[in-house]
């Protein structure tokens, strides 16, 4: 359990980076408090694996410092940092048994044989690997291999942090839920700092109390799942999180409010300082009414999809398609006219992608 911190860390895979575009990771200052559960969320190639590698010591950052509990560890190897990491794809030592694989990190740290045995059995129990312990590691199924890799990451109790790089990608969906719960259990039990990298928003939001959304080597927003959902600070965050993502509509600001396709939808005063203005609103915070009212936009239903708990209705607002989540008992037949109501508190205006109101 330890507090992780990076100061001014940037990384480029080029030997002499010139412009900003050469950096896989733009300069970052971040802190992960001890015993917290964190997620790094972002699309493939956004730099999250690089950031993880910098924390564990596999990647030496081009610039900046890495600190563990206030101590500068930038020049230290993974072994010296005492950090556990689980990779996206299983890595096993083929010539060893499953037991020896799990024991490997402990034996490398010269733990007494009795403690190794006890700890390996504990982890095997946790991950349902008891029956497989005596088997040879080669020739097992991919999913089983990944559970063993996960076990190797969890086997050391004294680590500063456990870093997980999309560890459940190759795992069956039904087992994913199970393993995610197990991970949370382990986190509560060991009070270890947990950083979980994923491109799956559901995984990030269920696992972590603090989620970092990254895109293109930058951190766009950091906050609780609620904050990310209700108040995305960047259009990318709104679009990336949620299913379907946030509706993003070009808008105009006038002294009396915000207009979309010539219809006033918000009564809010937004300073117009140029730039590209967009209105962002989640399908969850929109509703459809059959009666006109002030600030309700006249729309035409184009499609509806039934999703069990909700219904996703697509409506045309001028030239724009807007998705609305409605209760399943409401029916909106394609072609009918409806009035679209924006929930003012959770409808946001963005300038050049950034939240301004």
């Amino acid at each position: 359990m330890a507090r992780l911190e990076i100061r001014g860390v940037a990384h480029s895979y080029r030997r002499d980076p010139q412009s900003d575009a050469d950096y896989a990771l733009k300069p970052l200052d971040l802190v992960w408090e001890a015993a917290g559960a964190y997620a790094l969320l972002g699309p493939s190639g956004c730099g999250k694996t690089t950031l993880l590698g910098i924390l564990s010591g596999l990647v030496r950052p081009t610039r900046g410092q890495v600190l563990i509990d206030g101590r500068d560890v930038t020049q230290l190897s993974p072994r010296q940092r005492n950090i556990a990491q689980v990779f996206q794809f299983p890595v096993l030592y083929d010539s060893m048994s499953v037991f020896d694989n799990l024991a490997f990190p402990l034996r490398n740290r010269k733990l007494p044989a009795r403690d190794v045995e006890a700890r390996v059995r504990e982890v095997a129990e946790l991950l349902d690997l008891k029956a497989e312990l005596p088997l040879r590691a080669s020739g097992l199924s991919g999913e089983l291999k990944q559970r063993i890799s996960l076990g190797r990451g969890l086997v050391r109790k004294d680590v500063a942090a456990i870093l997980l790089d999309e560890p459940l990608t190759v795992i069956d969906p039904h087992l994913k839920w199970h393993l995610r719960r197990k991970l949370m259990e382990i986190h509560r039990e060991l009070h270890v700092t947990l950083i979980y990298v994923t491109h799956d928003q559901l995984e990030a939001l269920t696992l972590a109390e603090d989620v970092l959304v990254m895109s293109d080597g930058q951190v766009l927003q950091r906050g609780s799942p609620e904050a990310l959902f209700e108040r995305p600070e960047h259009l990318f965050v709104g679009h990336f999180i949620g299913s379907p993502g946030m509706n993003i509509l070009p808008c105009d600001v006038e002294p009396d409010g915000v207009y979309v396709a010539g219809q006033r939808v918000l009564a809010r005063q937004v300073p117009d300082a140029g730039g590209e203005l967009r209105l962002g609103v989640r399908p969850e915070f929109l509703s459809l009414s059959e009666q006109p009212s002030e600030l309700a936009a006249r729309v035409r239903v184009s499609e509806q999809i039934y999703l069990g708990g909700t219904r996703v209705v697509s409506v045309q607002l001028g030239p724009h398609t807007v998705r609305v989540k409605t209760p399943p008992e409401q029916r909106h037949e394609p072609g009918t006219e409806r009035f679209l109501v924006f929930e003012s508190a959770r409808t946001h205006v963005y300038r050049d992608g950034k939240l301004i109101s």
Partner: protein, 285 residues
């Protein structure tokens, strides 16, 4: 499940069957024929049964050559495999250094075998050869043309010089094929350099090392050219190996029957050892 029967398939494999027949089976059968007959002239041959086999198998000269050969192949394998792997581990995995190292490493493999023998014949000479003069200057009495031990060592060192690069290149190819993720995981798990070698590199090299062992065993067991050029099998019979013995029998004395019988035995010995190496090295667990 029934496999479809299609006799036309034979037609398509016929070219290969003919080629294999002429390149391997027919010559082999001819040798088998020679080995059970006494050939007195073009039209005169007598069936002798296993007489030639008994003759060569009880020949003390052959026993001597066989033991020398086994010892030679054994030492060659024991020296070249660890050395080759060690060299491969020292070559950087990328960059200009690696290309340069590979070129230098490959040089001995590009030299014709009899030239290798000639190079060492001069290189190791006690009077003008750099190697020989150097050893003698160190106060060690070294003359490979007179001293059997010196002759042996010279042939061995020459073989190690000539063929370790092959093992190194094979091992290097094997090392290159190991995904980076294994090294990363090992670093995270706190593995020492030796543990990485023992638990990642060595198991992953098993395939190429099996090939290296087989190639080096078969080649060294059949070695002919280099010692023939370097020592001519001497001093005495001290560096006469099986191939040289066979050549003497077949070409020198024109004893085709015993030579054929010996060839068959030679072939079976190589087959047997290769089989043993292969089964042992590819065994699971």
């Amino acid at each position: 499940m029934d496999k479809p029967q299609n006799q036309r398939a034979w037609l398509f494999v016929l070219p290969v069957v003919i080629m294999v027949a002429f390149s391997a089976l027919v010559p082999l059968m001819t040798v088998v024929n020679y080995s059970v007959q006494d050939i007195l002239g073009p039209e005169q041959r007598v069936w002798v049964g296993n007489e030639w086999y008994r003759k060569v198998l009880t020949d003390p000269e052959l026993h001597g050559a066989l033991w020398r050969q086994l010892l030679y192949s054994g030492v060659v394998l024991l020296a070249e495999l660890p050395l080759g792997v060690a060299v491969a581990l020292c070559i950087p995995l990328s960059g200009a250094g690696s290309s340069l190292a590979l070129v230098f490493l490959g040089l001995p493999l590009l030299i014709p075998w009899n030239v290798v023998g000639t190079i060492w014949q001069m290189f190791a000479r006690g009077d003008i050869g750099l190697f020989g003069v150097l050893i003698n200057k160190l106060g060690i009495d070294y003359n490979y043309t007179a001293d059997p031990v010196a002759a042996w060592l010279t042939v061995l060192i020459m073989d190690v010089w000539h063929w370790t690069p092959l093992v190194a290149l094979l091992a290097y190819a094997g090392l290159r094929a190991i995904p980076d993720a294994y090294y990363q995981a090992a670093h995270i798990d706190g593995a020492s350099r030796f543990a990485i070698f023992r638990h990642i590199e060595l198991p992953k090299l098993k395939g190429v090392l099996t090939i290296a062992v087989l190639l080096r065993f078969m080649d060294s067991f059949m070695i002919y050219t280099e010692p023939f050029v370097l020592t001519g099998g001497g001093p005495g019979n001290s560096t006469t190996f099986l191939s040289q013995y066979l050549t003497r029998l077949a070409v020198g004395q024109f004893d085709l029957g015993p030579a054929a019988a010996f060839s068959i035995v030679y072939f079976l010995v190589i087959l047997l050892f290769s089989y043993i190496f292969y089964t042992v090295m590819t065994r699971e667990g």
